[in-house]
Symmetry: C2
Subunit: 404 residues, 2 copies
């Protein structure tokens, strides 16, 4: 009998940003956050877990490279928590259930997007890890319960336990048992939400978000105001915007919160910068694109947001993606052709790009090829998926197939 | 009889930043601010004013180009206020005093630094304007009283009415009569304070500070916290640091306030960016330079500060200027040689530059020639000077000499 399960999990990009921990071990945040889950058809982590009494110890391979599992590290914590749930919720209640909690596990995980893309892979990675072990252990747990464990691997991973629109409620309890992800709306509620990721070149290694956010907590004079007064109001505003499918309100709050996250990073000693001149030019383009849209229709058509790096994620409704791709390509010429998963340019290629009528082209200068080194077009997606045996990443010997 | 006076006034660079007006006509700020006056030996505005009944109207030439004086504009306001003081304080009290307040004036002003340098010339310009008219009118006014008028030309101009270390007290009265500059300490109290201005290339025209700060007042969720809670504390801290000549404390507050000013600009809708990748790399260099200094001595040796533009001003004590010039030149190679007004490199040239022992060179990449297009070395200076007739900018015909 082989005890094995494979699951995939999505990336999520926050609209209301998580920045600051009140407990660094349990990864309890200083404020609630909210994200859109992106489609696994384009960006995903896949993980296979196998429990076998013949294994000598727990082992994990990420993209074919073995990672050390050392207690009390994040990987070890997640695996231990899931084994504990297996024992309590399954084995203790059903004497006939195999004692998988006592078996060592082998875990292989793979991201279908390059780490070099600068997209946070820890969220999808820990969500896939938790989902595959939960499937292996047949845990009768809701995604919110699993999110409590994923959170301890990487804070934002808890939001990847759901598809659609997801809030991470900060919680108030010291043990973190109320700091979990909840679904605000499923993907099907507002499927027109699309995302264009602009992968921006970065000369230097930035500050890691783990160390950066703690420096902000310790030194920013503005962060506490953000936590206490701004975020609670914005969480309500964006939840209402999502429920009403009000893109204009969604965009306004999303951009304001991205700006404010980077503002408190800058208000840190020493200051933290994640955006560069390319990031800032993309903001200028979206601001001008929205100015034209507001002049014509009274409403915004796009929202930029930046995580702890220079990459832009531009949220927009499906109908606007084509003209945004053309806008970006005009200022950021691409070396490689645009991968066009939604067949926007079925009749041709993106070409030189262009701007919408009434656009002031002087708001940004044209950059050299490579300033934006790739464009990824995706949309709102579903939560973790349990996959069939044919998708397994571990071979018959319990070692990653990729190493075969 | 020719009624004419010439005065020069200095540039000042704020350590606690002015950002936001509570009254846009009177230029009353939302928070107090504090600056260091820089030496007129290197950067100054010079203005000659002449009153003559034969003139047809008030006229002003800036760097040889005539500017329109239109009420209720800033120039017209300042000139009218000074004429009013002439009448009230001189002519109404002494019947024999010539009625200069009834004569039109010709004013010629000249900045000895290029506008292209991106240094705010409005502060020194309005301070020189007010000083020359005050001299022409023989006004028995203190610099603080004159600062009330200069403030209405350009907010930060009020601080250029004093040398040394200058606070602009925001005031609380609606008529602005308590929103004035006061001397915190004269230049002679702490003459070791030097400044290195890094003139940074800028691709695009930024947001003007006049419109930018009002957008911040209207849209930033963080500005009110800064105004109410952060600045009052920092004003006390930096005044104490100046009085104690505690450079470490001075530097800590100066850098934090520069960061926070740019943070609230970023927290504006749409966001305002004044710093670019070059500005940010200079910050990284100073942070690393201070890290080494703190490791060796427990104290910071330099403080960066940025106004509403990409230029860096680095405050440091005299003894450290040479190694900071060498540091900047290493990462930002100069096309033209460093003008060395203090003879730091009397024995040779700056050359390729170098870093101090223990400096981690990987904190920034080396830029191309021209990223920093000039370095200006100056120090703390004195307040406005009344100059002799030989320095006059107006010719015998009452027109600018520069046009002859």
């Amino acid at each position: 009998m082989v005890y094995q399960a494979t699951a995939s999990a999505p990336v999520n990009i926050a609209c209301i940003k998580y920045w600051g921990k009140r407990d660094t071990k349990l990864i309890l945040p200083t404020n609630s956050s909210l994200s859109v889950t992106l489609s696994q058809d384009h960006l995903r982590s896949t993980t296979t877990s196998r429990a076998d009494p013949s294994f000598s110890k727990d082992r994990l391979w990420l993209n074919g490279k073995e990672e050390e599992i050392v207690a009390p590290g994040r990987l070890a914590t997640c695996i231990a928590e899931l084994k504990k749930l297996r024992k309590e919720l399954v084995e203790d209640k059903d004497a006939s259930a195999p004692k998988l909690s006592t078996f060592p596990v082998h875990i292989a995980s793979f991201n279908n997007f390059p780490t070099a893309a600068g997209l946070a892979s820890s969220a999808s990675g820990f969500a896939a890890l938790v989902s595959s072990l939960a499937a292996l252990y047949a845990l009768p747990c809701s995604p919110s319960t699993l999110s409590l464990i994923a959170r301890q691997g990487s804070g934002s991973a808890c939001r990847s336990l759901f598809g659609g629109y997801v809030a991470w409620e900060q919680g108030v309890l010291d043990d973190g048992s109320d700091s979990l992800a909840v679904e605000v709306a499923p993907r099907s509620h507002w499927p027109e939400m699309h995302a264009l990721i602009c992968v921006v070149s970065d000369d230097k290694k930035g500050t890691s978000s783990t160390s950066g956010m703690q420096r902000t907590v310790q030194t920013s004079e503005l962060l506490q105001h953000r936590i206490k007064h701004v975020v609670p109001k914005r969480m309500k505003e964006i939840e209402a915007a999502i429920k009403a499918k009000d893109f204009d309100a969604f965009a306004k709050v999303t951009m304001a919160d991205s700006n404010q996250f980077h503002a408190v990073a800058l208000d840190t000693e020493p200051p933290i910068f994640y955006m560069n001149d390319v990031s800032r030019s993309i903001i200028a383009l979206i601001v001008e694109y929205n100015r034209v849209a507001i002049e014509k229709t009274g409403k915004r058509k796009a929202a930029y947001t930046y995580d702890a790096g220079p990459n832009a994620v531009i949220y927009t409704l499906q109908e606007n993606v084509k003209e945004i791709v053309e806008l970006i390509v005009k200022y950021f010429p691409q070396k490689d052709g645009f991968k066009d998963p939604f067949q926007l340019f079925a009749g041709g290629s993106v070409g030189e790009g262009r701007v919408v009528e009434g656009f002031n082209e002087a708001v940004a200068k044209k950059f050299e090829v490579g300033a934006v080194k790739g464009l990824i077009h995706t949309n709102v997606g579903d939560g973790p998926r349990v996959l069939g045996a044919e998708e397994a990443l571990l071979g018959p010997d319990g070692l990653p197939k990729s190493l075969a």
